[in-house]
Each structure stands twice: as structure tokens, then as C-alpha cells.
């Protein structure tokens, strides 16, 4: 089972057309192995990107060099997935008890 330990989902909100174009260019930068959860649309529309743990620092440095602000939407994706699984298991267990 593939895990996502340390993967973060970061949110970038482009402030102007220049930032928009710079963020758009990330889509073609295969070295960061980004997974766009929410693609580039307009200025002020959030872009959400899953970043693998091994490219996290280099991506953040890249954005800082470009003076593009970002926030962390999901700190550790695997923790959220573990929670989801626990919740599902608990629901199944509860259903079994009920039946």
C-alpha cells in the first residue's frame, strides 16, 4: 500500500498575473513531482498542490526565491489518511455490532 508520510498539501493564492504565470509553470516542472489537487485558474483563486516529502524543501525554496507566498493546507497527508481509515474501520465495526 502506498503511503504518503510527510507529504504536504500546500495552498498558493496567486496575487497577480505574474504570480499566476509562475505558478502555472510549476505544472511543467517534473522534478518536483507535484500533484495538482486544484489547478491554476485565476488570480486570487487558490491552487492546492500535493508535494512529496523528498521535494518539499526544494519546492518551498523555489517559491520563496520567487517571493510567492504559500500556506500549508495539510501538514502530513498520511496522518489524515490514517484517521480516515480508522474512522471507516470504526464505522464497519459499529455496523457489525448493530447487525
Amino acid at each position: 500500500k502506498e503511503t504518503f508520510e510527510g507529504h504536504q498539501v500546500i495552498r498558493i493564492v496567486p496575487k497577480n498575473e505574474i504570480e499566476l504565470a509562475l505558478i502555472k509553470s510549476l505544472e511543467d516542472m517534473a522534478e518536483f513531482e507535484l500533484d495538482f489537487w486544484r489547478g491554476v485558474t485565476d488570480v486570487f483563486s487558490p491552487v492546492d498542490v500535493r508535494v512529496p516529502v523528498h521535494t518539499l524543501q526544494s519546492l518551498k525554496s523555489h517559491l520563496e526565491n520567487l517571493d510567492i507566498k504559500f500556506s500549508t493546507m495539510i501538514e502530513n497527508l498520511q496522518a489524515l489518511l490514517d484517521e480516515e481509515l480508522e474512522e471507516m474501520d470504526a464505522a464497519v465495526h459499529e455496523a457489525e455490532l448493530r447487525s
Binding site: 489537487w37 486544484r38 489524515l80
Partner: protein
Amino acid sequence: TDSFDYSRYHPLSEIYSFQDMLVAENPNLVSKIVIGQSYQGRPLNVLKFSTGGTNRPAIWIDTGIHSREWVTQASGIWFAKKIVKDYGSDPALTAILNNMDIFLEIATNPDGYHYTHTSNRMWRKTRKPNPGSSCVGVDPNRNWDAGFGGPGASSSPCSETYRGPSAHSESEVKSIVDFVKSHGNFKAFISIHSYSQMLMYPYGYTRTPVKDQAELHQLARRAITDLASPYGTRYRYGSIIYQASGGAIDWTYNQGIKYSYTFELRDTGLYGFILPASQIVPTASETWLGLKVIMNHALRNPY
């Protein structure tokens, strides 16, 4: 299906069982059609809600074409139950079903959905291997014959938006294409995705406005207004909010299905595709209000 837990996520086998139960409980309203097979041989089931007649004008709804968007499959299950529960008591839905059929494909990408439960929760695409590449799968919402190969889709098999080797190369897509063509009387086609709170109409592959732009825009505004009524969920709406070629609703519109829309369901701003199960019923119930506006408009505005 009364005791089915609508507020949790279910594996594929339970979705298949749910569909069979719903048909068994409502034989005069619901039937199951298998429109094809996925790459890995799973049935592509479509629930048909019909009160009779032959080849009535019809409405198509699909959920889960992107497998990791779990709230969409869960919403599809909720819609199915809602339809059988409300037929006969909700005047708008009753009028729709007395004149039109509704087709609902809940697990549009079953291989991908199964894979999200067993191997990779973040899987989006189909599961067909790509010759010459170690990367698997095609984005089934870039695989339609509408601006296929244009901007907003990737030619790289390793990309999450890989368009595939040719239009309709994916059986999950081709099966819908064949079904829609052979039916020939679809009047609305609504494809449901998550997450980013948008309601979009064609086109995604070109900036050329569709000829029905004004009507589709106004209808979208009405749909999102009703959708917002229970919880205040605010949607963006329009055409080409983001560029994407090879998309489903661009193809359906070009086939003459005027009321072609894509929903992107709610975004709580914290979870993305990992929307907590407690959000399923609120998401589905608000979306249902938007869907009803579009379905009702399709009923009242025959073409």
C-alpha cells in the same frame, strides 16, 4: 437500503451490493444496466430510474470518474436513495420522472476506485497500463473526443492528466460514449467531481463560447443559488474556469446535449480529497438541490 450507512465511505463491493439492493427493493422504478466493462473486467453499472415508456428523454448523472474523489461516489449513492424515496412525494422530482428517465453511474471508474481502497488512496486515473511506460492509467476526463490532445491535458503517461493514446481509448469512457449515442435522447448530462465548488458548462478546450452560453449561465446561477440555500456553500460558475481538453461535457455538448454540466463539490478548505465522512450527507443534499434545478429546467424546456 434503509439501513445502509450513507454517512460513511464504502468499498466498491458494497456499492455494487447497494445497487442490487435498490433494484430489488424498487423493481418498478429502478433497473440496472451494464454498459460495459472496465479495463480490469469490472462491470460498469448504470442505474436507470424510469416510470415507463420507451426511449423517453433522459438525464445522465455520473460520479467517481476520478476515483480519489470519494465524496462523489458517496453522493451518487445518496442521490440514488433520494430518488426512490422522493418519487411520488416531491412534486418536482415526480414530474421529472413521469416524463423523463434518469441514468446514474455511481462508480464510473471502478478499477481506480478499488485501487484507492486497496493500494493508493490518491489514485485518480484508470488502471490500464501504458505500453512503453512504467506509469499506469489515463485521466478519463481528458480522454473524450472534444479538442482531444489540446491544451489542458498531458501527453505524458506519468501525468495525472494524461489524455491517453487516442480519444475514447479507455473502456470506461467508450462505454458511456456508445451508450449515449445508442440511446440518442439524452437532454442533460451532469458529471460530478470534487473538490473546488464550481459549476461549469462547456467549453473547456476552447475560448469560443457555446451557442447556448446565456441560457447555461443563467441556469448555472439558479442551480448554485438553490445549492447554497441549506448551508451557504458558495460556488463559482461559468465556462472554461480552467482550460482542459478532452473533457466529458464538451463531448456531450457537441453531441447535441445542451444541458451539459460539471459539478465540483464542496471544499471545506482543509481536507481536499480527504473530506471527512461526516460531510457526505450535507454535500450530497446541497448538490441534490442544484441537480434538481438543472433537471427541472431540462424537463420544462424541451428541445
